[in-house]
Structures are given as C-alpha cells and as structure tokens.
Assembly symmetry: C2
Homo-oligomer: 152 residues x 2
Amino acid sequence: MTLPDSDPLDLDRQVCFPLYAASNLLNRLYRPILAELGLTYPQYLVMLVLWKHTPQTVGSLGDMLHLDSGTLTPLLKRMEKAGLISRTRDATDERRVLIDVTPKGRDLKSAAARVPEMLGAGLDIDTESIIELRSRVRALVTALKGVPVGES
Amino acid sequence: MTLPDSDPLDLDRQVCFPLYAASNLLNRLYRPILAELGLTYPQYLVMLVLWKHTPQTVGSLGDMLHLDSGTLTPLLKRMEKAGLISRTRDATDERRVLIDVTPKGRDLKSAAARVPEMLGAGLDIDTESIIELRSRVRALVTALKGVPVGES
DNA sequence: TACAAATATATTGCGCACAATATATTTGAT
DNA sequence: ATCAAATATATTGTGCGCAATATATTTGTA
C-alpha cells in the first residue's frame, strides 16, 4: 500500500543522510587546509571559542560544541602537547580544569582568518542559500537539544 | 565556510559548525534505537541501500554513501561477522567484492521500518522545515562533490 | 559537622572516517 | 602478446565521538 516515493526506508527521503554526508564532506574539505595550521576540525572549533573568550572549562567548551569529556579530554591533551593551549586545575574549584590559549595558540589566529574564504572559494553556492541553510540547521540543532535523553 | 561581513572566526557565523553539531546530535539520537537492531548509523545506511537493490560492490556503496574502502571494508567485515551481509569476490572481475544481504539481514527490514517515525516523534519541527532543510542540504552536498580535490 | 547527592573531569573500549599506502586484477596502447 | 596505467579493494595509523564507568571535589541537608 506504500507508494514507492513514500517508502520511509528510501535513502533519498532521509533528512539525516544528507546531513551526515555534508558533515563528512565538509570535514574532508577542511582537513588539508587546517592541517597547515596543525589543527583538526574539532580542534579548530575549540580555538574559535578560545579566541573569543578565555579561559573556558572542559564543561563550557562541551556545552558550546555539544561534546562531552570523553571526546574533549584526549583532544585537549593533544592540543596541550602541541603547545596551543594550557590545562590548569581551577584553584577555587578543584573539579574544574581551566583551558587557556598559549602565545603559540594566539599566534595561529591571524593565519586562521583566511580559512573561511579558502573554503568558500571552490563552492558553487550563493549567499542566500547559505543563510537559509544555516538558519534551518540551527533550528534543527535547537530541536535536537530539546529531545529528552531517554525519549522513545 | 562563513557569511560575508563581520568576524569570520565567530562560531555563530559558521555554517559548518551547526551541520557538524546536527550530524553528531542525530547520530546520538539514532544510536540507542539502532542498537536494538544491532546496527550503527553507517551500517544502517548500508542496509538501506541493500534493501533497495542487491548486490552492491564496495565501490558502489562508497559512491552512494560518499565513503571509501578505508571506512567500508572494516565496517562490512563487522556486518558479515554479525551475519547480516555476505562478501564474495566477483567471479567475472576478481578485483570486486559483491555485497549481498543474508536472510537474517533481510529480516531486519520490517523492524527497521519503524525507525524513522521513532526519531521524528520527539522532534519539535514541522514538515515544511524538514523538507526545506533537506533540499538545502542536498544542494550543499552536490556543491561539495563538485569541488576539485586539490582545490585551494 | 557529617555525609549522601550532585558536579566536573578522566578513563576504557568500540566503531567510524580519513590519508597514505599496498596488493591484486583488468584494461588499453603498442 | 606485452606491460604500463588504471581500477578495486585491503591495510595501517591517527583522531575523533560516544556510552559506560571511575575518581575526585563540592554542595546541600540534617
């Protein structure tokens, strides 16, 4: 009774699949550009946050990037090892770890400023589409954050 | 990738970040539901393709899902080990490996039919937004596939 | 002031996702 | 027919991303 084009298991009907594919393809596009700065994409996101406001805690970074300590702790340790950030226990609350940029990390900012334009260059997509897309994806992210964890 | 005007390094102006976040959050939402079927999200995508048309090669799956053999080969081996698919060298071209569903894999289809509705249930987003979003993301995926590999 | 609950980060184990590389097979130009 | 180039898959090593769990610190309440 189900029409061919209403089959819920059709890959082309899925919303999640294009999002998954776009995320992978974007990461693939970013990789060689960010590699010149010695960064991965999630590391680049951490730097974007730190360049705006510092210090951050592991938790505040996780809230903003929607990641948990299982992802962030090893990532931040690698960034510390690379000399880009510092990790210090908060003296006023020993549970927390304060994340700050080092001088080397701050120096990266000027080079990173040219990353966005490098990416946009080869992409045949107009500004209106990008703005509309961004607004729609943001709405989805908001909706996804609103889903209770154990929800059926 | 950012929009013109203003600070290009502002997390809020990025288009890629919400896409990255949405992809992660969706995967997190899918995980427990698909776990009941013994599948991960990319494995689920492989099954969606195979339920439509079989057999596929590693390469044809990669073309459709935008993944390469480095990702697919170990993934498919795990699915074979789980008894969901078979992997056979193509007798007419020994370079290829034919991927087919097993009876056990085919049986999963009916249970999987309820996955999409289970996901949509808790999401406070209207149909129009979803359709518009899907169309915009598809356009981005198309544009991303059009970027030359060594592009600067 | 105890001390259980809440909070913050770290650890473990698994499965992607990718670049780089390796191996085997087929194709095509001579 | 030969053999270099192209094609298809596999392997290696690195870095996420996550659930589950562990550990340490702080908070709230009796």
